[in-house]
């Protein structure tokens, strides 16, 4: 009899353990097709957001082979972004961030390449990544883990044609840039990088969002940091624009806790170094440093490793390491100007 009792207890323990696992829904599984999410209305490739899907832009965006990018954020119903200081908004669980990559072909047509999703999984409150590859017919994008090298001929911002093998990242590549201190996070939509007025809009983007009821606790905009628009030479100095550019293009890795923590070169906008990289020797760059001695040589871009690596497309040398097969001429020119205007030492 006693034995039966023990058995019953064991049985209960076992059931409760199993139940626990079942009651909590499993981790989020990304759907097979982009259209399965119903983010958009009408022809999928037009990316017309349905209600609740909000398009946004960044003051200074990441360069990806002159790709044309569309960005959206999808908050669950009755949820808002919460402002709690600089950096990223506090996103509610079940937020999607959508970033679509396309290029302009030689006929000036927009050709869809890939769509990247970030999802904040209520299961563990962590962000997850997935990528979708557009089909040739441009009617659908399919879930695609592996990454792909895609031959394209694109027009750059000046209408000049470039033929290249576009690098669609695999899901681990995504993590490389999106992980800081072992936690996956969004990179782009920091308050400072959302805090500007989009081209063709009359209202500041954050103000507009606040008006739509998408943000909680947003202080007066004067108190919210603003990242300079890297192309805006009217309102911003070369230094400010260069630091904004480096922040967005480099600092996801070149930040304490980031993938390039080991290099000791920190390029985030908030970096304590007033001028990062100046007369700093490389640590583990190997041949990637091109035989040069310092990351930044004031007044001498041509002898600065930072400039050298941004100006290269060689694997092992090119920076950023991923998702760039062409040199961003305009970006490199800005960094060159920034270094060259520093007083020589």
């Amino acid at each position: 009899m006693r034995m039966c009792y023990v058995m019953a207890v064991m049985l209960l323990a076992c059931i409760s353990c199993n139940n626990g696992a079942q009651q909590k829904k499993g981790p989020f599984q990304f759907l097979d097709r982009l259209s399965d999410y119903h983010f958009f209305e009408g022809d999928l490739k037009l990316l017309q957001p349905r209600k609740g899907v909000t398009s946004y832009e960044l003051a200074t965006p990441l360069f990806t082979d002159y790709a044309v990018k569309d960005r959206f954020i999808v908050l669950p119903e009755d949820s808002v972004l919460t402002y709690a200081g600089d950096g990223l908004p506090q996103f509610p669980d079940a937020t999607f961030i959508i970033k679509n990559f396309a290029y302009t072909d030689t006929l000036h047509q927009k050709v869809m390449i890939e769509t990247r999703l970030l999802y904040k999984d209520p299961y563990d409150h962590g962000w997850k990544v997935m990528n979708y590859l557009w089909n040739k017919e441009q009617t659908e994008a399919e879930r695609w883990l592996l990454g792909k090298r895609i031959p394209i001929t694109l027009l750059d911002d000046n209408g000049e044609a470039h033929t290249t093998l576009y690098q669609m990242p695999n899901t681990n590549d995504c993590k490389r840039c999106h992980i800081n201190n072992s936690t996956l996070t969004p990179i782009g939509p920091k308050w400072r990088n959302l805090n500007f007025t989009r081209a063709g809009h009359s209202q500041n983007q954050l103000q507009a969002w606040a008006g739509m009821g998408l943000i909680k606790n947003l202080p007066d905009l004067k108190q919210v940091a603003a990242l300079p628009v890297w192309t805006d030479s009217v309102h911003h100095s070369v230094n400010d624009r260069a630091r904004a550019y480096l922040d967005v293009n480099c600092a996801h890795c070149h930040i304490r806790g980031g993938d390039a923590f080991n290099t000791g070169l920190f390029l985030d906008y908030e970096s304590t170094a007033k001028v990062p990289g100046v007369l700093k020797s490389p640590v583990s760059a190997g041949g990637g440093a091109g035989g040069l001695d310092y990351d930044v040589v004031p007044g001498d871009a041509a002898n600065s490793i930072l400039h050298y690596r941004m100006n290269s497309v060689e694997p092992g040398t090119a920076m950023p390491e991923l998702a760039r097969t062409l040199v961003h001429k305009e970006g490199v020119a800005l960094i060159a100007a920034w270094i060259n205007e520093m007083p020589k030492r």
Binding site: M3, C4, V6, M7, M10, L11, A13, C14, C17, N18, A21, L145, L146, R149, L165, Q167, N170, T171, N172, D173, K175, R176, I179, S182, L184, D259, F261, N262, G264, K280, S281, P282, V283, S284, A285, G286, G287, G288, A289, G290, G291, L292, D293, E314, P315, G316, A318, E321, L322, T325
Partner: protein, 424 residues
Amino acid sequence: MRIYNVILAGMVAASLHACTNGPTNSDGYINHLSFGPGEETKIAEALLTLKDSSKVELKEGTYHFDNLSIAQLKHILIKGAGAEKTILDFSAQSQGGEGLRVTDVLGFTIDGLTLQESKGDLIKINKSEDVVVSNVRAIWQKADSASGGYAIYPVLCKRVLVENCYAQGASDAGIYVGQSDSAIVRNCKAYKNVAGCEIENTSNAKVYDNEFWGNTAGFLIFDLPDLSKRGGHVEAYNNYMHDNNERNFAKSGSFGSTWGVGNAAPGSGIIVLAASDINLHHNKIINNNSAAIAVVSGFFIDEKAAEKMNDHYFPIPRNIKIHDNEMQVADSFPTAVYAHHTGKVLVGIEQMLNAQDPSRKNARLPFITWDGITTNILTGGKGVNPDSLCISQQQPNLFVNADALNIGKPSWKPTTDVTPYVCK
């Protein structure tokens, strides 16, 4: 009653299993995957979708990859059929910094395979814990500056074991443990790299029973400034460093750079740079024809080293013990030394010693070169051996205090008296 017992035992086992999700296989891994050559795409996909506690077996044969990565997992084993049998070739690498990259894995083992010919590093293991690299060959056939920097490259890791490995052709260090804590490198070989093995900003490391030969420098223990942590507490023993006399083909900083492996002079056996609490003993250091052992401070290569001092960096090596090593050198410097910036300094020291003292009869540079820079320059102290350099070796022509602070000045006077530094 007995039947109830059996049922109960079964229930207990079942419930334990359900609750802990424990290993179901005797090798300790829950998930088992196995692949052969030709299944490269499947392998790449498998690594992207790996679950915790997975063993990935790669059967005998040659595999061709662009690059591979493993991220954010626990308890992973990559197992080949043997170093000579399973070969992962990365000559098609088109992007990224390495052939195989491992990030944020707690419990990572790679065993029994060859990695070769990547554009960047061959295997980089970043921010991981309990890392084992065993029976791995990591090779570039052509040893020049086009090779990647590091063949086997754990960095920012905790508890690392590199064992029975072979590294060749790296344009920086063959086996490089950087910014890590608790590392062992043993029974490894490194050939035709700039540095055979390097322990950099890594604390609590043991390096023993290795053979490093045919490199520019056999073994380096470096602490560099501006990094995430300080190194030190490194013991190296029973190693055989020999015939490390090759030209320094490191691209970065080969000439004129202040920091890094470019500073390693051809013909170096062991170099200690700015690292403290080091014990070098019972090594065979043979025919490294510049300096068998060099101990130098950060000031030796950067006069502004003091400006970089903080919790993570102290430029002057303290508590360096050198004892019971077997050392020999050949009659002359290696040719490559004359084209190298620190190499020329070593040549200059030998010339100066012989000019000062004809009774040396043009003897070689002594086995141990010390730059002679002590914490006295920071404290204003006058102590003879404030940093507890301790040498216990019986060889003649053993030691030179290079008086590095005065090189190039009329007052420069390298000296060879080891007495103040003999272990008490």
